[in-house]
């Protein structure tokens, strides 16, 4: 039996009020994007706070889908993001496992090194990376992007996977080894499936890294047919006048897949996000 008297009514109202206020704050900016995307003409600016604007129209969506290469960009972004996700999961799950289960010389510096990669201002990597990509003839190719995005997402993902493996008792694979499994089988058949919640987070994080990235893509991709969504959306922003309606409609459509993923995966988020700290 729950204990209804453990919290009083005031406390409950207060708790709900706090949640409601923050939920409102979280959602409100998104409603503004929706409103702008429905506005006729190119008018971002209006003194109206109405959710549905005067003369609301889906015209921006029609133009976006049928008169711009939006769908092409969507495909490109999906392709890059999915490859990065798979690479991220494959590499982070194995590297995290090694770092969690084995003690070897250089292990601590490797973990520290991964954290250190996050400390360097990413903007300064642009120039040398650009030179490297030119020399490797990787401009205007997704391979360069995939490698860079994977490397960006990996440090966090490895830490995160390692943290989760730490919570799984080593006795499990010891038992598997006694039953005759190779180390790889013990990992792949026994531990890997148990780490599903953390794998989901790793996948989500890798996907988001690739799906939302703009700065590097802007340097690497020069052919409009190869653009990813963020680059495509940026095209609607001119020097001095922005096609805000198209931009907002695009922004909304770009957000839907990530938000959708979050919705589906949100229960894993809680159990899977362990930055190497929860010890059983």
């Amino acid at each position: 039996m729950a204990k209804p008297n453990s919290t009083n009514l005031g406390g409950m109202i207060w708790a709900y009020a706090v949640l409601a206020v923050f939920a409102f704050i979280s959602v409100y900016p998104i409603t503004r994007i929706i409103t702008v995307s429905l506005r006729p003409g190119d008018r971002l600016l209006s003194t109206s706070l109405d959710f549905i604007p005067d003369g609301a129209t889906l015209d921006n969506y029609r133009v976006l889908l049928f008169e711009t290469p939006f769908l092409r960009w969507l495909f490109n972004s999906l392709l890059v993001s999915v490859v990065v996700t798979i690479t991220g999961v494959a590499l982070a799950s194995t590297a995290g496992y090694a770092l969690s289960r084995y003690k070897f010389r250089g292990r601590n510096s490797m973990l520290g090194g991964l954290l250190i990669t996050q400390m360097f201002p990413a903007t300064m990597l642009l120039l040398p990376l650009y030179v490297v990509l030119i020399n490797l003839r990787l401009l205007d190719s997704y391979l360069g992007l995939v490698v860079i995005y994977s490397a960006t997402a990996l440090p966090f993902c490895v830490w995160q996977m390692k943290g989760y493996y730490d919570t799984i008792p080593p006795a499990l694979e010891e038992a598997a080894r006694i039953d005759g499994c190779t180390p790889w089988q013990a990992f792949y058949r026994v531990i890997f499936p148990l780490a599903a919640p953390a794998l989901v987070i790793t996948a989500l994080f890798s996907f988001m890294t690739a799906w939302n990235e703009y700065v590097v893509a802007n340097v690497v991709l020069q052919d409009t047919a190869m653009f990813t969504l963020p680059l495509g959306l940026k095209m609607f922003q001119n020097d001095m006048s922005t096609q805000w309606g198209l931009y907002a409609a695009g922004a909304l459509l770009v957000s839907i897949p990530v938000v959708g993923l979050f919705l589906i995966l949100s229960r894993y988020l809680i159990s899977g996000l362990t930055l190497g700290a929860v010890k059983g």
Partner: protein, 317 residues
């Protein structure tokens, strides 16, 4: 040199001599380890190591608008120039404020909301959670530009809503202080869900009996939070906070997009955006490289001290 944890398997092989089996086992383990770690190490090194070395060389060079092709190594002059530039220190101070305020609010709001969400009586937890996670889920460049629109003096939702409650319009983006506040508000909004989710995960592992025992002793909510929740959340939060600090310190997106590249009067910069401006607007590549090395040094020292002070290395490594 490897000492595997899983030694039990070795015991099974009794036929061969102990020495033989040991070397074989060790070799296999090395191979297995490299199989697991190799690709990650390679890919991270490929993307980070070379540019890093390149940057170290640049930071010792005179590469600028005059010497963009024929630059040469000139020593530590750029570092001297960075460290004696008063504007750098001002920006550094702002970066520290920016990072501190953001992290305090990210963690404070995140933990607070997580504790509320974790209460037994809350109905519809998944729905609340989803709503509160939205700021994290949306692409940053989109939300940053949306917030910029919302801070507009004449048409921005914030002044319009304020107007409904009879508040005066604030020139958010044109006054240095207000613009900085606007940038921080935006980033607080973006960052609290991550900490909330981490905290929620941590709360799940705190056994309910502890609270029941405290209830028996008649402890207040406040006491329970500080005596039970806070200490037990600590090991979960420290690595997240460390990463959060590093990420926030180096987060150029929000600052750049909301303030439109540092407006007004380049007063809304943090160190990374300052680096970007120096390198790509003024072509002071050598100088910018030196500054980025300084940033790296600051963060490196900080995390070492922070992790040591909080004894988090134990938990983190």
């Amino acid at each position: 040199m490897l000492e595997g944890k899983t030694t039990t398997a070795g015991l099974k092989v009794q036929q061969r001599t102990a020495a033989q089996s040991k070397t074989r086992e060790a070799r296999q383990r090395t191979l297995f380890l490299w199989g697991l770690l190799g690709p990650t190490v390679l890919i991270v090194l490929a993307v980070v190591a070379y540019p890093f070395v390149y940057n170290v060389v640049l930071s010792l060079s005179n590469m600028n608008i005059y010497h963009i092709r024929d630059w040469e190594v000139i020593g530590l002059q750029q570092y001297a120039s960075v460290l004696t530039e008063p504007a750098v220190w001002v920006v550094f101070f702002k970066t520290v404020v920016w990072t501190l305020v953001n992290i305090v609010f990210h963690v404070g709001l995140g933990v607070w909301l997580a504790v509320i969400l974790n209460k037994a009586f809350i109905v519809g937890k998944p729905a609340w959670r989803v709503l509160l996670i939205l700021p994290w889920a949306l692409p940053q460049y989109i939300t940053a530009l949306t917030w910029r629109g919302m801070f507009n003096y004449e048409y921005g939702a914030i002044n319009l809503i304020g107007g409904v409650f009879g508040m005066d319009s604030i020139a958010w983006l044109t006054s240095p202080f207000e613009a900085f506040v606007a940038v921080i508000l935006t980033n607080i909004w973006l960052g609290f869900p991550f900490m909330m989710v981490v905290a929620l995960g941590g709360l799940q592992s705190i056994p309910g009996e502890l609270y029941e025992a405290a209830d028996v002793d008649g402890a207040s909510e406040w006491t329970k939070f500080w005596k039970i929740t806070a200490p037990l959340l600590r090991p979960v939060m420290i690595p997240a906070i460390t990463l959060g600090i590093v990420w926030t310190f180096n987060n150029i997106n929000v600052v750049w997009l909301v303030s439109n590249g540092g407006e007004p009067n380049d007063q809304t910069h943090i160190l990374v955006s300052y680096v970007y401006e120096a390198a790509f607007s003024m072509y002071r590549f050598g100088w910018a490289a030196a500054l980025s090395m300084v940033i790296f040094g600051i963060l490196f020292l900080f995390t070492q001290v922070f992790l040591k002070k909080t004894n988090a290395t134990e938990a983190a490594y």
